[in-house]
């Protein structure tokens, strides 16, 4: 709006204004806006993390605690695990927290990340339509549950976005022998929240992390159909971007935050985070 008003003002005065004066005013205004745009902070780090930790509210909760002991501002970018690791690989962030053990191992082995620490775990659950017409609730292992859905050709929403959840789901299908090819298997290509909403609208099954499920379940016409299979455990690791590859990273502040996450205080904060009275993430630092 300001731009519009300024433009009107300038145009109306144009004929009397000196060209130099005009361009000077112009650049002053532009400079003013650019200055407004860059707020200066003493110290900040960038953390790429998954939607499951951000959308559940955990990160905000933890950062509230961290702000009491540190002046470092933690800027959170929440994306899928694949993209988070890619950002770290390119050196666009200072540290990552993700949940895809195989991809993380590769990430460290290739020298992109250092000091991988396990922070916490939560678990995945299978959710489905209220009537559970594939009767997944009658079985106790995720392998059986998924095979029922596939055999009966029920709708199943996959994230399909190379996120940690997607990687995990593909790994589970692998136990069944082959990649899922039944007609009801649909890829949303979107985050967990969107995928859950799609499943709800389409009366489909889907696999979700417990955190997002608890945060959203009141707004969904879905029910939990399978949980507590050890195969569904979902471990989170924090890793620092290797300063040998990217010397510009704020390694000291990133390391301080990473160490805080696995410190007794950080772990206690993780354990005390609850949604609807339920613990979402179990601290797991050794």
């Amino acid at each position: 709006m300001a731009a519009l008003i300024m433009t009107c003002l300038q145009l109306s005065k144009l004929n009397t204004m000196k060209p130099l004066k005009l361009s000077l005013q112009y650049s002053l205004i532009a400079a003013f806006f650019s200055m407004m745009s860059c707020t200066v902070f003493a110290d900040s780090i960038r953390l790429a993390t998954t939607t499951s930790t951000y959308n559940s509210g955990l990160m905000e909760y933890l950062l509230g605690h961290y702000a009491q002991v540190s002046d470092t501002e933690v800027q959170v970018i929440s994306v899928g695990t694949g993209k988070a690791l890619k950002m770290a690989e390119n050196g666009d962030v200072d540290l990552v927290m993700t949940h895809a053990p195989a991809a993380e191992a590769r990430f460290v082995a290739q020298g992109f990340g250092i000091e991988a620490q396990s922070v916490m775990y939560n678990d995945f659950v299978l959710v489905g339509p209220q009537d559970d017409d594939a009767k997944v609730r009658q079985v106790h292992t995720v392998t059986e549950g998924l095979s029922r859905i596939a055999k009966l050709n029920k709708r199943f929403i996959s994230r399909g976005d190379d996120s940690g959840t997607h990687k995990k789901e593909l790994q589970l299908w692998k136990h069944l022998g082959a990649a899922p090819t039944f007609d009801g298997y649909l890829e949303s290509g979107r985050g967990m929240g969107h995928s859950l909403q799609m499943a709800s609208e389409m009366s489909a099954y889907t696999m979700t992390d417990r955190g997002t499920w608890l945060a959203l379940k009141d707004k969904l016409q879905l029910r939990l159909v399978l949980e507590s299979d050890p195969k569904l455990l979902n471990p989170y690791q924090v890793m620092l971007v290797n300063p040998a590859r990217h010397p510009h990273v704020n390694i000291n502040s990133a390391r301080r935050f990473s160490l805080w996450l696995i410190s007794p205080e950080g772990q206690k904060a993780i354990g005390s985070f609850r949604i609807h009275g339920e613990v979402l993430f179990v601290p797991s630092a050794k």
Partner: protein, 236 residues
Amino acid sequence: MYNLWTTFSAALAQLWSGDPLLWGIVAVSFSVSASALLIALLPALTTGFMLAYFRFPGRWAAISVLNSLLAVPTVVVGLVLYMLLSRAGPLGDLNLLFTRPAMIIGQILLCFPLLVAMSLSAFQAADHRVLETAKTLGASPWQAFVTLLFEVRFALLAAVVTAFGRIIAEVGSAMMVGGNILHHTRNITTAIALETGKGEFVQGVALGIVLLTLALVLNISLGWMQSHSRVLRHGD
């Protein structure tokens, strides 16, 4: 389930209460888009003027490229800019990725072709006697250009309004190069994308109302400007 009306009224209440988080996000949108527009405006108008009034080799190629750029999706602009600004990219040392200046650059790239194309057609539609009349009455080339800007001001304002509408409503580039960081690069559109993903429809709707109101105001003023410039043309 979601009751449309309760969500809508809760959204209005949240806006009315002056929720600082919400209005902070709105402020990010406005400051980023206004900066982008201000920076792009004069170069774009000059380019449009050159294309309208000068014949040079490559002019048609330039116009074709420009018109093609109009059709480029915002995410593609975001992707290209992301790859340029990434630490692994050629401009990584500028340390701009995930900052507001990066979003501003993205929006400049998005509104520049639009501003050039619309000002080009405004200049082409302008009376060819404007420049001659100004010059014969003593105007320098720059003063004549400024006079021309004044004569086609309604068409140019329409271009500015359209460009502002495009960039403030775009999500692709802002999400890619801004990173949707709270208090820094979270603007109206990236916040809507995030909040709906979290199932927080109230805030999404509240921000949507802001955008919708803006679109309404912009379109009404655009209609007014267009009718006004038509009246003038009939009068001539």
